[in-house]
């Protein structure tokens, strides 16, 4: 258990950091909870993107840099289509598009590059993401578009009895969280109960073995990329519904990388928990730790959330390279 010590220490430090604002009275309990909620919301979005990454990595060993672009693409599709048709139709068509995309990627990218070293595949997905950015905007346009769910954007005060000033929450945030949870539940069912799901799990565990018992890898890839596409779609709608859909979404989605590092490339729960940790961590750091930093070093503004996630991930890598939930492997000679 010696090798767990640093992890435990790191977690201890994080938890301590989480509660200091309360202890030192740097924040009222109510506001602290608000920041927590804000962090969790951001976390949910990160988790959704990370989820797509993990699915693809498990099944095809590809680290999909394009996940962010997929989110943008799907969101744009829904936003633009829903201008001309009811939302449900738009979503259905968008799903169709994402499946089509999965097929194309499998044919043109994965199959030719099969059993290349992971870095090559990473770069390939980089290419894919560039392509999607351009293609998405040519197809759907580069403006800011909105996805309307008809949920009021105005805040609501709750628990005013508990905290003075109450806690400010948003209906659409809540809705988003529920959607995310529902999605995760669905995925869980899909993996546990359906034959395809089991096949996917088999592939994830051991490609050769899976192939040898007659599971067609190519089909699995198409399926898993489609699923990832749908996850991206949900992420995109949640996100776009909040901020409006625009080119720059893809850049925010990059945050999913440290998330999967934290959670481990192969662990779905890891992706979710990792996302929440990062979300809460960076918001807390920005709101409470940032100003302190600015004062002490006379910085030109805070903005530490730009790197917090990555540096945290780095710290974790150094103490536990396999991530929170990943299992470590010994390479044989």
């Amino acid at each position: 258990m010696k090798r767990h010590l640093p992890v435990i220490l790191l977690c201890a430090v994080l938890t301590a950091g989480l509660f200091t604002p309360l202890v030192t009275g740097a924040s009222s309990p109510g506001f602290w909870v608000e920041v927590l909620l804000g962090g969790l919301m951001a976390g949910v979005l990160y988790s959704l993107v990370a989820l797509g990454l993990v699915l693809i990595f498990k099944a095809s060993g590809v680290f999909n840099f394009a996940q962010g672009a997929m989110v943008l693409f799907a969101a744009l599709a829904v936003a633009r289509l829903s201008e001309k048709m009811p939302m449900w139709a738009a979503v259905l068509i968008a799903i169709g598009i994402m499946v089509l995309f999965a097929v194309v990627v499998e044919r043109l990218v994965l199959r030719p590059l099969v059993n290349q070293e992971p870095i090559a595949l990473l770069m390939a997905t980089l290419g894919v993401s560039y392509f999607l950015d351009g293609f998405g905007q040519t197809l759907w346009g580069g403006d800011i578009y909105k996805i309307e769910f008809g949920i009021s954007k105005d805040p609501v005060m709750i628990l005013e009895s508990l905290f003075q000033g109450g806690i400010l929450v948003n209906k659409d945030d809540m809705a988003a969280a529920l959607v995310a949870i529902a999605l995760v539940a669905l995925l869980a069912l899909f993996f546990q109960k359906t034959a395809t799901g089991r096949a996917l799990r088999a592939v994830a565990d051991d490609h050769q073995a899976a192939q040898s018992i007659g599971i067609p890898l190519n089909r699995i890839w198409v399926i898993v990329w489609s699923v990832a596409g749908i996850v991206a779609l949900v992420a995109g709608m949640v996100w776009g519904g909040k901020l409006g859909v625009q080119f720059s979404l893809a850049e925010v989605a990059l945050k999913a990388l440290p998330v999967v590092i934290l959670g481990g490339f192969e662990s779905v729960p890891g992706a979710i928990i990792g996302g929440l940790i990062i979300g809460v961590g960076e918001k807390m750091a920005e709101v409470f730790f940032g100003p302190v930093l600015v004062k002490t070093f006379d910085l030109a503004g805070g903005g530490i959330e730009n790197w917090f996630a990555y540096v945290l991930a780095l710290a974790f890598l150094l103490v536990r390279p396999e991530g929170l939930f990943g299992e470590r492997r010994i390479d044989r000679v």
């Binding site: 770069m123 980089l126 290419g127 993401s129 560039y130 950015d133 030109a300 790197w307 150094l318």
Partner: protein, 354 residues
């Protein structure tokens, strides 16, 4: 017919260890360099200098640096623009605070500072590989970006956060006209190309490649991974640091932290993929390709008389970019450099194949 190596026997190992063992290659290279130094300054227009040749030369230097790390030592980095940034800001502050320093000294110091930072962020590579390392380097990218945007000292308390430079002067030579800039950069690049070539054919280079190809075996024959990886990070950051300083002083003249952001890092990565991993020549090809491609894509419609909206053009650009990356990875993982050598092989047999 003319490109033959038969009849050129190597009597000594020294002769065999030359950089370009084949006579024709030597002649060709010499001709190219001579042309670049003597003819180009008179042929090229200002536009060619300022928007193509100068960025091309600088980015080549950076690409060589990144290639030493990724192509030769097998350590991925998605954060090398940050090390260019370190070089640029280091140079800016050196010039600002020690104006008497000769710019060549500044350049080398900037490189060394970048090297130090690079090695620092290279330490994780001792424990983690591949994708994990990629994210570690992303951390470097974002943290360094942030640092230069926030710590006022680096930008000499400029309220806008953007810094501007004075023209370079070397021993009384004001490097200001486009052709002067070009010649200066060319000289620097040629020198450091030779250096890189020497490094990769020396035992350090072999240590890098061994670590890249089979790290366990490398360790077993006594190559210390710590040494191989950190030197690779150091040297490559040194190159990028110098490139950054030149990018700031010679090309941009004035820049804000965003000038060295993730996009540039990815660009560098694309250069070595397209140009050819583990090939110095590849860095040249890659840099040329990436510099010229977007401009071409903007120009071609004009020549064809098509009126393509600037928006469509730039969307097309990123599409073609992405497609090309994938295409290269599939068709020719070793990039343009490999095609070049294949071409030479063919030429060697020509006109009597087989």
């Amino acid at each position: 017919m003319f490109y033959r190596e038969n009849g050129q026997f190597k009597a000594t190992y020294r002769a065999d260890e030359q950089m370009l063992p084949i006579l024709q290659d030597r002649v060709f290279m010499f001709a190219v360099v001579a042309f670049a130094f003597l003819a180009m300054p008179f042929l090229a227009t200002d536009y060619l200098f300022l928007s193509i040749l100068i960025p091309f030369l600088i980015l080549t230097l950076a690409a060589i640096g990144l290639n030493l790390l990724v192509g030769y030592c097998g350590q991925i980095s998605i954060g090398h623009a940050a090390f260019m940034g370190v070089g640029a800001y280091a140079a800016y502050n050196l010039v600002l605070r020690l104006p008497q320093l000769n710019f060549l000294v500044v350049l080398v110091l900037a490189g060394l500072i970048a090297a130090a930072v690079g090695m620092l962020f290279g330490i994780p590579s001792l424990r983690i590989k591949g994708l994990y390392l990629a994210v570690a380097t992303l951390a470097a990218q974002f943290f360094i970006d942030w640092m230069f945007a926030r710590v006022k000292w680096f930008t000499n308390y400029a309220s806008s956060g953007s810094v501007s430079t004075v023209p370079i002067e070397l021993f009384g030579w004001k490097v200001q006209s486009p052709s002067d800039k070009y010649l200066f950069l060319l000289a620097v690049l040629v020198v450091f190309t030779l250096v890189a070539k020497n490094l990769v054919r020396g035992h350090l280079g072999r240590a890098w490649m061994a670590t890249r190809d089979m790290d366990v075996a490398a360790e077993v024959i006594g190559i210390r991974p710590v040494y191989a990886k950190l030197t690779a990070f150091g040297v490559s950051s040194f190159y990028c640091g110098m490139a950054g300083a030149l990018y700031g002083f010679v090309y941009l003249g004035s820049w804000e932290p965003a000038a060295f952001n993730l996009t540039l890092s990815l660009k560098l990565l694309f250069m070595i993929i397209i140009g050819g991993m583990g090939s110095i020549l590849g860095a040249y090809f890659g840099a040329a390709f990436i510099t010229v491609l977007p401009i071409l894509l903007n120009q071609i419609p004009l020549w064809l008389g098509l009126s393509l909206s600037t928006a469509t053009a730039s969307h097309l650009e990123s599409m073609i970019f992405g497609a090309l990356i994938v295409a290269f990875l599939i068709l020719e993982p070793h990039g343009l450099a490999k095609l070049w050598s294949i071409g030479k092989e063919k030429l060697r047999l020509w006109p009597f194949p087989h």
